[in-house]
């Protein structure tokens, strides 16, 4: 500023300086406090980050809260957190019980659209690319039904790791040997998903579906990933859904679980590092 300083009223300058430094210090302290408060309950079972989210600590650092992922999601699974979430305010989350991520978009659009790197598309790009290369090695372009994209989509889906499903054996209907018939979440439920049997192009409401099962196995049959993620274990006549390594944490099982409190939940992955 140099000579310009002569233009500035000295008192005003000091006053302004005090105001700004105090304000910044207060903000810094506030952030520090919130961070301490926040790290205790970073991701909860009902508030998961969208696919491809980097480590939680990095996530709230880098998200610019633009909401592009919210807008692009075809099934409106993603929401922005309110001020009650502390530092997470304005960042996207998925409430699985209300609306799980069923991979309806087929291409992980929320990740692809993210302008910052907090939803990191690189891993999916690589997984998809590798799958295509592998497919083309075995299959010829002229082959009838040549479609590498199906394989690519599949590989990208499997790369997702939002969390890991976990069964509550105390309330699970299958463990108790009970069946289920009817509409799992009642007729007022708004969640939608696409049946994994490939019969649907678009997601449809869960409330329009009727199930009739001797032993309840909705979490197993409705899983969009299939038998690499969850299977029904029936050793010795006792049924028990078993979650496998392939689980992506998409939460369709959580959404369709007919018990009042879900008997299967998705646990967020443990953060790799702590601040």
């Amino acid at each position: 500023m140099g000579k310009e300083k002569t233009d500035i009223d000295r008192r005003q300058f000091i006053k302004s300086g005090v105001v700004s430094v105090t304000a910044l210090a207060a903000i810094g302290a506030g952030v520090g406090y919130l961070k301490k408060l926040h790290s205790a309950n970073a991701r909860t079972t009902n508030h998961l980050r969208p696919p491809g989210a980097v480590d939680e600590n990095d996530f709230i650092y880098g998200c610019i809260k633009c909401g592009l992922c919210v807008q692009i999601c075809p099934i409106d699974a993603i929401h922005l957190a309110g001020i009650s979430q502390g530092l997470s305010y304005g960042t996207p989350y998925i409430d699985l019980r209300e609306q799980a991520c069923d991979f309806s978009c087929d291409s992980l659009q929320c990740v692809e659209t993210c302008p910052t790197a907090v939803l990191d598309f690189k891993q999916f790009e690589e997984a998809g690319g590798n799958a295509i290369t592998a497919y083309q090695k075995i299959h010829d372009v002229n082959e009838p039904g040549f479609n590498p994209f199906k394989v690519q989509i599949r590989a990208m889906k499997e790369e997702v790791k939002m969390g890991m499903a976990k069964l509550n054996v105390n309330t699970c209907l299958a463990v108790q040997g009970k069946g289920f018939s009817g509409t799992p979440r009642g007729t007022g439920f708004n969640g939608i998903y696409r049946s994994p049997d490939g019969s649907e192009k678009k997601a449809s409401p869960l409330r329009d579906r009727e199930f009739k099962r001797g032993i309840c196995d909705l979490c197993v049959t409705e899983c969009p990933i299939g038998e690499t993620a969850i299977i029904m274990d029936d050793t010795g006549g006792v049924f028990k859904p078993k979650v496998l390594e392939g689980c992506t944490g998409c939460g369709v099982c959580v959404m369709v679980c007919p018990t009042e409190n879900p008997s299967i939940i998705v646990e967020p992955l443990k953060p790799e590092s702590d601040v």
């Binding site: 302004s16 300086g17 709230i60 650092y61 610019i64 909401g67 302008p115 598309f121």
Partner: protein, 310 residues
């Protein structure tokens, strides 16, 4: 800042015989008020501001892929746009975080596009797009009224305070590895509230507005907002600007009264101008209020360099 024009010796003020009102044969006071009620640029600007924000809202509600996202980051028909200060913070914290290489091409496109636009038009965004500016404009009117009625006192701060906050927020981002400013940014808060629904955080915006009404006029925009400060820096040599013609000026200073950042019009006072032609400084938001109010039409929008060509 660093205004070399200001340091030159001033040119002589016009004598009465050369004043615009004498040339027109009018009374000075009558002449000064001759543009009262002219709100041409203000109306155009408000229309643009409301239209842009409405486009964001409608794009989400009607699922048009036209203008997605919010004011902190968006896609205009698939083309990314990212607020420069936000992008700066992301870059800063991505370095120690180690995810700098993961920043997408779209990120850089969005960052550089807005950066380029700001080198063309400086802080134009502030008055033509920013929803907080619109509210603050209303608050300013109320504040001026209260000051006139002697209900509140005007408090001013140093205008360079913004750069302290600008550096401070960047430093905070680096230290806490968190985009701290976006939590407090009334632009983002208002934009998100309009698009994704309101939240309790709006109380913060309300608090800011009340502070501006009862204590200091346009406190946030003038002394704090690092978003505008970024563009004041990058728009230092912006060609789109407000041009001042000394020959047409009647020294009435009405323009400074309506200006959000009156220091950019330092040359309008009698005996202050150092050249026949001046351009408003980088803090100017190109809102056009001064142009609307100027009786002598001494202030006009111009594109520097282009007017010489024509």
């Amino acid at each position: 800042m660093f205004n070399s024009d200001k340091k030159k010796p001033p040119i002589t003020a016009k004598p009465i015989a050369e004043m615009p009102h004498t040339l027109l044969g009018q009374d000075y006071k009558v002449w000064c008020k001759s543009q009262k009620g002219n709100h041409k640029w203000r109306n155009i600007r408000w229309l643009v501001l409301i239209a842009v924000n409405l486009l964001f809202v409608l794009s989400f509600f009607l699922d048009l892929s036209f203008l997605e996202g919010s004011l902190s980051g968006s896609r205009a028909m698939g083309f990314y746009l990212i607020d420069t200060f936000n992008a700066l913070q992301v870059v800063l914290i991505s370095l120690p975080g180690g995810y700098f290489p993961s920043l997408t091409m779209n990120f850089w496109i969005g960052f550089l596009t807005i950066l380029f636009l700001s080198t063309m038009g400086g802080r134009t965004y502030c008055s033509w797009v920013c929803p907080y500016h619109f509210l603050a404009e209303m608050a300013e009117k109320l504040h001026d009224f209260l000051v006139k009625e002697k209900k509140v006192k005007e408090h001013t701060f140093n205008i360079y305070l913004r750069f302290v906050f600008w550096g401070g927020f960047l430093l905070l981002a680096l230290l806490t590895k968190n985009i701290v400013f976006e939590n407090l940014n009334p632009i983002g808060i208002l934009s998100r509230a309009m698009i994704y629904g309101p939240g309790l955080i709006l109380l913060w915006v309300l608090a800011l507005l009340i502070f501006e009404i009862v204590y200091s006029k346009r406190f946030w925009c003038r002394y704090v907002c690092p978003v505008g400060a970024t563009w004041a820096i990058t728009g230092k040599a912006a060609p789109i600007s407000v041009k001042f013609d000394h020959d047409k000026c009647g020294y009435c200073r009405d323009c400074q009264d309506v200006c959000l950042v009156p220091h950019v019009l330092w040359f309008v006072q009698r005996g202050k101008a150092t050249q026949k032609t001046h351009y408003a400084g980088p803090d100017c938001t190109r809102c056009g209020l001064c142009i609307d109010t100027c009786a002598g039409k001494a202030l006009t929008f111009t594109i520097k360099g282009l007017d010489k060509l024509i």
